[in-house]
Every structure is written in C-alpha cells, then in structure tokens.
Amino acid sequence: MHQLIREIEQKYIPQDIPEFRPGDTVRLHLKVKEGEKERTQIFEGLVIRVKGSGLGKTFTVRKVSYGVGMERIFPIACPSIQKIEVVKRGVVRRAKLYYVRNLKGKAAKIRELKEWEIKKRAAESKAATENKNNGQS
C-alpha cells in the first residue's frame, strides 16, 4: 500500500484504543440504536483474531452466552464502539485462536499473564513501536 494512504488513514484511526492481542479479554461499550433511543450495550469476550493493518484492521471477539458461542467482528475504527477496556491479558502461543471454538468449560480457559509478564510485554511492544518510528524517520 502507498505510504500516503497509510498517513491519511492515521487521521481516521481513534488514538485512544488500548493495545490488545489475541488471548486477551476485552470489554466493549457499544452504541445500540433502538428506534429513536440510543443506549450502551456491553460485549465482553476473548479476542481470538486480529487481522489487517491500518484502517482495515479488524478483530474478532468470542463470548459464550447461555451455552451458545457468539463471535462478532469489529473494525478497529468502528464508530459504534465507544470504549474498549482490556479486562484480562492471557498467555497464548498462537495468533489465531480458532481452536478455542472446539473447547468447553475448563479446557477453554486461557492462563492469565502474571504481573511481571504484563510489564515485560508492555516494554517489548513499546520498544517495537519505537523501532518502527525510528525506521520511518
């Protein structure tokens, strides 16, 4: 993709999105329109996939509600998302967690990151973005 398009897309990507990865659990505050009224709905679940880049980036959130698995795909700049909260950070060894669909109950549980691991991961991602920025300039 052209560099210019990437720069233009930056203007449209919301800056307040927290960083999250597959394996993390997120809480989305969604705007729902019912007739004339507008209210906030909460959708909480496991991020099983992040794909694409720039404005075309999307992520899939999976939750199990009353025994039925439910997945929703959101664009990163989705206008109906008011807020994204990261509830848990999980340990996974894959980028796409499709295997979770076949698991139930305790087997579907993902180990949470420990405090020191969260710090380590944050430092790593910070270094990565700095490297990227340096490379650009």
Partner: protein, 226 residues
C-alpha cells in the same frame, strides 16, 4: 480559480464519516501551475491551461521550455485546459491548489484512462452470459449466433463482438468529495475512478450538479461531509 484540477491516482481505502464506512479513492491533486490563459478577445473563449507533474529539462522540447522559462515555473509533464469560475481571472505562473478549487461535499467528474485489457471476448467485454459449462456442452465462452440468414444477409453494424477492450478515456460523473487534506494536496473522492494506480486523472466540477437529481445528491453529500 479554475473549475477543475489535474491529479494522480494513489489508491483506494475506506474512511469512517458520521458513523458510516465510506469507500474512497485517494487522489493527489495538484499543486498545478497556470501555463497559459485563453481570453475572449484573443481566442474567443475564457479558459486557463494548468500544468501538473515534473519533467526533466533535457526531455522538454525547446519551444515549450521557453514558455516555462518566461512564466518562471519548472517544466510540467501534463497540460490540460479548464474553464474558469465566474468572474475570476488567473495570471500565468500562478499556483493552483486543490483546496482552492473544491470543497467538501462537492460533486466532481473524474476523467481517466481505463486499464487496458487487450483483445477480449464478449463475456468480459459486453457481459454476455456465455453457455453452460457442462451437461454435454462443448461450446462455453464463445459469441454464439451473430445474425440471421438471407434476410438481412449481413451482420448488423455495432453488433457486440470480441475486440480490443479498455485503454480508453472514461469519465465517471458526480462523485462526492469526502475530504480534502491541503497539507498533502490530497482529495478523497467517494467510489472508484478509471485507470490504474499512478495514472493521471482530470477532476472537474460536475455537470450533473445543475440537474434535478444532481441537486438532490449535492444536498445530501453536503449534509454528510461538511
């Protein structure tokens, strides 16, 4: 200011405006320079010649070079003529930027040269349905019958057949201006435009803006993007 500008197709993406995803083409439009001016008394009509792009001095014909030198601009690659907005005049050498020509929500006509497809058969070129792929058929993508028998005894003129497709000048009418980014000389236009990436495009203020449906479209687009 002129009623249009020359630009280069950069590519497509999508943006979110007022809660809606809008497909847009990114066009680098301008900066253009006024190369010549057509006047009523001298040429019989009012217009302005705009130049766009860069060209090496050694590749420019000497007569053209002397014109550029006289008005004090670098040699330009492409020169096209545009009508002027009412009651405005321009001087040779003046710079024309995209934000001076268009604003958000305007309707524009975009002219470009479509992608060349070479010698193409009727299914691609004219959207013919073709013939079944199976059930004993051995005739799949060919034209089929092209006429009758003794009467008329010839093939009608303009009969749609295989031939050269693409690489022709095409204008799409009434595209909405979604956004203008002055610092990058970029204009975002809703929908697709003819031609490949890096091809030259001409943007003109739309001819449909005066028509009944065009007026409605203009109103809607102004409400959406301004």
């Amino acid at each position: 200011m002129p009623k249009g500008i020359i630009g280069k197709k950069i590519g497509m993406t999508r943006v979110f405006v007022n809660g809606k995803a809008v497909p847009v083409t990114v066009i680098q439009a301008g900066p253009c320079y006024v190369v010549g001016v057509r006047t009523e008394e001298k040429d019989g009509y009012e217009a302005v010649q705009l130049g766009f792009g860069e060209k090496k001095e050694k590749n420019t014909p000497k007569p053209m070079l002397s014109i550029f030198k006289k008005i004090g601009i670098k040699p330009v690659k492409i020169i096209r003529e545009f009508k002027l907005k009412e009651g405005e005049t321009l001087e040779p050498g003046q710079e024309v930027k995209v934000e001076q020509v268009f604003e958000k929500g305007d309707l524009v006509d975009v002219t470009g040269k479509s992608k060349g497809r070479g010698f193409t058969s009727v299914m691609k070129r004219w959207d013919f349905a073709g013939f079944p792929k199976s059930h004993g058929h051995r005739y799949h993508r060919a034209v089929g019958s092209i006429g009758c028998r003794t009467e008329p005894g010839r093939v009608w003129k303009t009969k749609r057949m295989a031939g050269h497709y693409g690489n022709e000048t095409i204008t799409v009418l009434g595209l909405e201006v979604v956004d203008i980014i002055p610092e990058k000389n970029v204009i975002l236009v809703k929908g697709s435009v003819p031609g490949s990436v890096n091809s030259v495009l001409t943007l003109r203020s739309s001819v449909i803006a005066d028509r009944r449906k065009g007026k409605l479209k203009l109103q809607k687009s102004k409400a959406m993007y301004v």
